[in-house]
């Protein structure tokens, strides 16, 4: 049985958020306050601050060679967990044991100094991420070769293109040869090629029995790379086990939740809203329930709602929010020219989308109920994820892909015909 690489026991992290109204007024007050809290450590700054629990009692054991995905909605504590495990910030309670050299791809290029040359930065960055001078010297040539920037090695990195910068930084990180690698996809930058390089590197490390922690919003990547997934929700481990089950759990069957900003606008208790979306379901054109669609397919979305108070002239809005929080498109009954009768009793409404040419990604369905003039808001919820699949098109191609018309202007035939047809089209 392999050894344990990471053991977390009841890891918790609280952040204190100052309550604005009672902030210290002057520096001397602040100094006095901090002196006080320094001297009387148990008397934690008398309720002047709210606490926010980013992680609570997170426990798990990860064995050497495991490849573990960490998923969760925004604010679930994924990044906080990585920060704790990489010692950037300290836990409030609990402990963790780390057995092995830790590297991470969340700080690619950390400590690069723009004024220093590539050569100088290799040494500086190498030392910062934890390599000894000997190691850096030994791997220097390999790092330079791997980064493909030989001819610019003595140029200050501020003159580098962003691609060169990232390549060099990544090359240094790669030669740290960590036994535990942490990847935070949200923070990692770079183009498609670079991301592929990262993944190839992770794969190679895995073969050498390294342990990998992978934070991602991309369920395809998690499914493809990980053999175990920890699903964090509101700072706690909600599920820990097989990727398929964890993703199922993460996406929830037909779950929707109230949007926090709407709770401020309409009322904190969604069960008291005039309308509430009880269920969101997705079907394909044949009526079969599905949440995985091919690029270009039409999607039928059924919303089941409950009504507490009559809403006249309602306007249902459905938006697709990509996993990186980008709102991609919207359909609404008012603009689509469909008038909905006043909502008086529970019921349901269906939307059949045009062929969805969105790129291959996960999309959350966001539902709002407003009035036809967009003046009132009755309900705002988010939930139910569906996926669109395409072998090539991903977020690097933008939001959607539609077919364009192409011409060769230098070719006489095309050029002329274009001009002629152009005239007749208008």
């Amino acid at each position: 049985m392999s050894k344990i690489a990471i053991r977390a026991e009841n890891l918790s992290k609280e952040y204190t958020i100052p309550v604005e109204a009672v902030r210290y007024d002057t520096l001397s007050d602040q100094l006095a306050g901090s002196m006080k809290s320094l001297l009387r450590r148990n008397n934690r700054r008398e309720r002047r601050e709210k606490t926010f629990q980013a992680l609570r009692d997170v426990s798990f054991e990860i064995r050497e060679g495991e490849m573990v995905g960490i998923i969760g909605h925004n604010g679930a504590g994924k990044s906080t967990l990585l920060k704790l495990l990489s010692q950037i910030t300290h836990p409030t309670h609990g402990r963790a044991e780390i057995n092995g050299r830790v590297g991470s791809l969340l700080e690619v290029g950390t400590g690069f100094h723009p004024e220093l040359t590539g050569r100088e930065n290799i040494f500086l960055n190498g030392a910062i991420i934890g390599m000894s001078k000997m190691e850096i010297k030994r791997h220097f040539d390999a790092i330079v070769a791997f980064s493909e920037i030989e001819q610019f090695i003595d140029v200050p990195v501020k003159r580098y293109s962003s691609g060169m910068y990232v390549r060099l930084a990544f090359a240094v990180s790669a030669y740290l040869k960590p036994e535990i690698l942490m990847i935070d996809e949200v923070l990692s930058v770079g183009d498609l090629q670079f991301q592929r390089k990262c993944m190839a590197y992770a794969e190679e490390l895995r073969k050498s029995n390294a342990t990998i922690l992978f934070v991602s919003h991309n369920m395809f990547a998690v499914k493809a790379m990980c053999n175990r997934v920890i699903y964090l929700s509101e700072g706690s481990v909600h599920f820990d086990g097989s990727p398929a089950e964890a993703i199922e759990c993460y996406e929830g069957p037909n779950r929707t939740s109230a949007l926090p900003w709407a709770q401020n606008a309409i009322g904190a208790d969604p069960s008291d809203w005039d309308v509430y979306i009880e269920k969101v379901e997705t079907f394909d054109v044949t009526g079969a329930e599905r949440n995985l669609f091919n690029y270009g397919e039409r999607v039928r979305i059924r919303l089941d709602y409950s009504v507490r108070r009559t809403v006249s002239n309602p306007n249902f809005l459905v938006s697709f929010i990509r996993s990186d929080e980008l709102a991609c498109c919207n359909y609404n009954t008012a603009m689509d020219g469909f008038s909905v009768p006043s909502l008086e009793a529970d019921g349901s409404i269906e939307l059949l989308t045009p062929p969805l040419n969105l790129v291959s990604e996960s999309y959350k369905i966001c539902v709002l109920v407003r009035d036809a003039k967009f003046e009132h808001l009755y309900c705002a919820q988010i939930g139910k994820t569906f996926h669109i699949r395409h072998d090539l098109l991903n977020t690097h191609f933008g939001v959607f892909h539609e077919q364009g018309e192409w011409f060769l202007p230098n070719t006489v035939d095309n050029h002329i015909s274009f001009n002629f047809t152009g005239g007749s089209l208008s």
């Binding site: 010692q87 836990p91 050498s208």
Partner: protein
């Protein structure tokens, strides 16, 4: 990407937990990361004069320009005495440790905030940051020291054997800068006010130190209080070691060294306490 045998043998083992007690300082980690300390100092030195027209010449020019200004203002206009030593040499000898101290204090105070991209993204012993910031300006001091030797030769002043004591006085200057800098750099993370206060502190401190004037102009009854300022001992020490002036008051120096040591110890404890929240509040 095979793991080397040495790496497999001594796998680092770390326990991450809330720090218990004020005095769990883990100073050994500073020693273990001495290579990183070296690289941080090296970075500071290397980048200080990059993309300047005359580069490292500034190291020499800055105290020289100050010396000329001091000579014009304090010696010619204000007629401040210099204990029988040519005023330019008198001033330059004091400017040597003072310029170091003022620079180290400023750099150290802003060091943590200035490294926020490191602090929020990767772990290494945070103490290295202020430590590197207060050691790096020593390089400048070494260069201007060479200028001083030239200047002394011009004025026909030969150094005495007391020059061997210079490292002691320099050490006291470094420790003073570090002691104050540890407090101010950690405070600066939470209260950026510190960044605005430090220039005034440095200015007031300069007038409270015998940079432009000799200690002999300080009234006798204030002398003891005055010499508690560690920079008084440092500057007097430099003048004694280089120009053969009367020796500084070593007993007062011992007292101020003790004060600095307490300040330093407190600074380390405070810094280590605040260190845990740097990434969260910076």
């Amino acid at each position: 990407m095979e793991l080397t045998a040495e790496a497999a043998l001594k796998k680092p083992f770390k326990v991450i937990q809330p720090r218990k007690g004020l005095f769990q300082l883990d100073l050994g980690s500073i020693w273990n990361s001495r290579e990183l300390l070296y690289f941080l100092i090296w970075r500071d030195v290397l980048t200080r004069y990059k993309q300047t027209a005359i580069g490292a010449a500034w190291v020499v020019l800055q105290p020289l320009i100050n010396m000329v200004l001091f000579t014009l203002i304090f010696s010619r206009l204000a007629k401040i005495p210099s204990d029988g030593i040519a005023y330019p040499v008198f001033a330059f000898t004091a400017l040597l440790p003072w310029a170091y101290f003022a620079q180290a204090l400023t750099k150290t105070s802003g060091s943590i905030v200035g490294s926020s991209n490191l602090v929020t993204k990767i772990y290494f012993p945070r103490l290295l940051i202020p430590l590197a910031a207060c050691i790096a300006p020593v390089v400048d001091l070494v260069f201007s020291f060479l200028v001083l030797l030239v200047l002394m030769a011009c004025y026909g002043i030969a150094p005495t054997w007391a020059i061997l004591y210079l490292p002691v006085f320099l050490g006291l200057a470094i420790i003073t800068a570090l002691a104050v800098g540890l407090w101010s750099s950690a405070l600066n993370v939470r209260y950026r006010d510190v960044g605005s206060i430090i220039p005034f502190v440095a200015q007031i401190w300069m007038y409270a130190s015998p940079v432009a004037y000799p200690v002999s102009v300080v009234p006798e009854k204030w002398r003891l209080l005055y010499s508690l300022n560690p920079m008084v001992g440092v500057i007097e020490g430099f003048r004694w070691a280089l120009l053969g002036k009367q020796s500084p008051d070593f007993s007062a120096m011992a007292v101020s060294a003790a004060v600095v040591t307490v300040l330093l110890a407190g600074g380390i404890v405070y810094f280590k306490k605040m260190e845990q929240s740097f990434a969260d509040v910076i």
